[in-house]
Amino acid sequence: MLELPLYDKVLSQVQNSTAEDVEAILKKGACSAEELPILLSQAAAEYLPQMAALSQQISLQRFGKTLQIYAPLYVSNYCSNNCVYCGFSAKNTIKRKCLSTDEVLAEANILYERGFRHILLVTGEADKKVGEPELSLIAQELRTKFSSVSIEVQPFSTENYAKLFEAGITAVAVYQETYDRELYAKLHLSGKKSDYDYRLATPDRACSAGMREVGIGALLGLGNWRFEGACIGTHLAYLRKKYWRTNFTVSFPRLRPASGGYEPEQPISTKELTQLIFALRIMDPDVGLLVSTREEEAYRDGMIGLGPTRYSAGSSTTPGGYGTPDAAGEQWDVGDHRPVEEVVRVVRAKGFDPVYKDWDSTFQQF
């Protein structure tokens, strides 16, 4: 049973963490989910360079000198939810676009030509526009060209995830946005997304359906980042134990200005984001850590090798955006505008191997 930590308990543990507590963990070189709040504390913030070193060491050992490169492909920005903070929110008047299968393939082709072999399909949550059948169709087409096709779309049932898996989707990303139940209710006013528990159980359903990889995370800036971090840690530990065959990743979407103009209630600084990334790496040596183009160039360059294992590059967050930039409403503003060649050049300059193709889905029996 997933038992998320209690808000007050986490904050209290954070408050009471001392330098000695942090040093004990650094010395041990490992951290449990129960101990994670120590690494998320103000006390630990004083040890950021040491946390970085440990995170770097662990990442190097587990992942080597590699950084996986992927690209998001926004299929549709229609959304039936009303999330207060999102550019795609139903009440926002933005140019809506839903790509046809041909248009998706055209976009995918651009990405393919640029060298990408791992692709993440993204949609707003509008089942009638893009549901399982549409995604399965796209997957069947794309899987011949791309090593892996993942999705970051609306939560599906186990049955639908199984169908998507059959069709060629191998990974699912779904973010709880905020693990704070009360806050969640305030932010997700209508639509299927207003069901906190259904969303929380989504990784379980994806794992049960046989997905090879499942990604979790919280939208940083909504709730208290230390609490969200503690919940991510607990959620991850629970999933890993229960679904031992599945690979896991954590992403760090951070609130940036969007069409909706939402100002984050509890913004997380870059330094705090960094602390969170290192803490999770120390807690889980094997989890993939994704940093997207939301973050600035200098930041992404500096973090290479310190913990993150996957970068998107040259991203467009609008449907059709690779072929026609500014075609429609973006989900969020990009921070790192560099084309993929530029990002890859930096990765190589740092002595890392940019991995376009991590594994071959043809080895997988569908």
Binding site: K28, Q50, A53, K241, T274, P285, L306
Partner: protein
């Protein structure tokens, strides 16, 4: 408190009843060890010279009786022995042992998994003896095993927890209790098993063949208690998968200038 299949045990030392010089010694050992779980085997009665019934030596009020399937060479034989054991003991608890090689007595992973699946379906509470293979441990748990019993070293070798790394992984990933069984030859080895996080240990040979089995049983009892206490006193050992050598705090740092803020 150790809980297996909903039942509580105050002692984390399980005793095997084989190789004892006499049933009386075995009974005294059980008392000295404070064990609440003992294994027994099933054999044909020697009709020329039927021995004393071991059951009379075990106080089943205090001690749980755990029949094993020793002698089984495959799942079919194991299931048959299990049914006999259940009929004879009235308990559905079972230590599953499938050991096709009589020289090494190492457990067959394939037949053990098969037998576990079948026996769980038949309503047994299965504690499978296994080689310390973490994936096998996961699969046995998926099949419904109530605990897993990875070996420290082959039966009777007294070599200790030679499988330490794998056992640590098993412990980290386990959703059921982990009982290190076989190969534990000295109290220090039992303590080690407990210190790395095992939920219990099973000891037989080391006690039975000692010149003073009763004293040895008491030594093991203390070792298991000490090992467990040490484990609980620590923050709980973490995964052996990250073998990052600990940085001396304050000395090893990474460059965070790119953050643009003081760190």
């Amino acid at each position: 408190m150790l809980t297996i299949a909903g039942e509580e045990f105050s002692s984390r030392l399980f005793i095997g009843t084989g190789k004892f010089a006499s049933p009386q010694v075995m009974r005294e050992v059980l008392v000295a060890s404070k064990s609440e779980m003992v294994t027994v085997a099933l054999r044909r009665v020697n009709l020329e010279n039927p021995e004393d019934d071991i059951m009379s030596q075990i106080d089943t009020g205090e001690t749980r009786f755990l029949p094993n399937t020793s002698g089984a060479r495959d799942a079919v034989e194991a299931v048959r022995l299990a049914e006999l054991a259940r009929a004879g003991s009235g308990t559905n608890w079972l230590k599953l042992e499938v050991t096709p090689d009589p020289r090494t007595l190492l457990p067959c992973p394939i037949e053990t998994l098969k037998a576990t699946e079948e026996l769980v379906k038949k309503g047994f509470i299965v504690l499978p003896y296994m080689n310390a293979d973490p994936i096998l441990a996961l699969k046995l748990q998926d099949a419904g095993a109530a605990a897993v019993m990875p070996l420290g070293a082959p039966i009777g070798t007294n070599l200790g927890v030679t499988t330490r790394l794998q056992v640590e992984i098993i412990i980290e990933q386990a959703r059921v209790p982990v009982v290190v069984d076989a190969g534990i030859g000295a109290p220090s080895q039992a303590a080690l098993a407990m210190e790395i996080g095992a939920d219990a240990v099973l000891v037989n040979t080391a006690i039975a063949v000692s010149p003073n089995p009763v004293a040895m049983a008491e030594a093991f009892c203390q070792a298991v208690t000490a090992g467990r206490m040490a484990y609980e006193a620590g923050l709980g050992r973490q995964s052996s998968m990250a073998s990052a050598s600990s940085p001396t705090t304050g000395n090893i740092t990474a460059d965070l200038d790119f953050l643009g803020v003081p760190c």
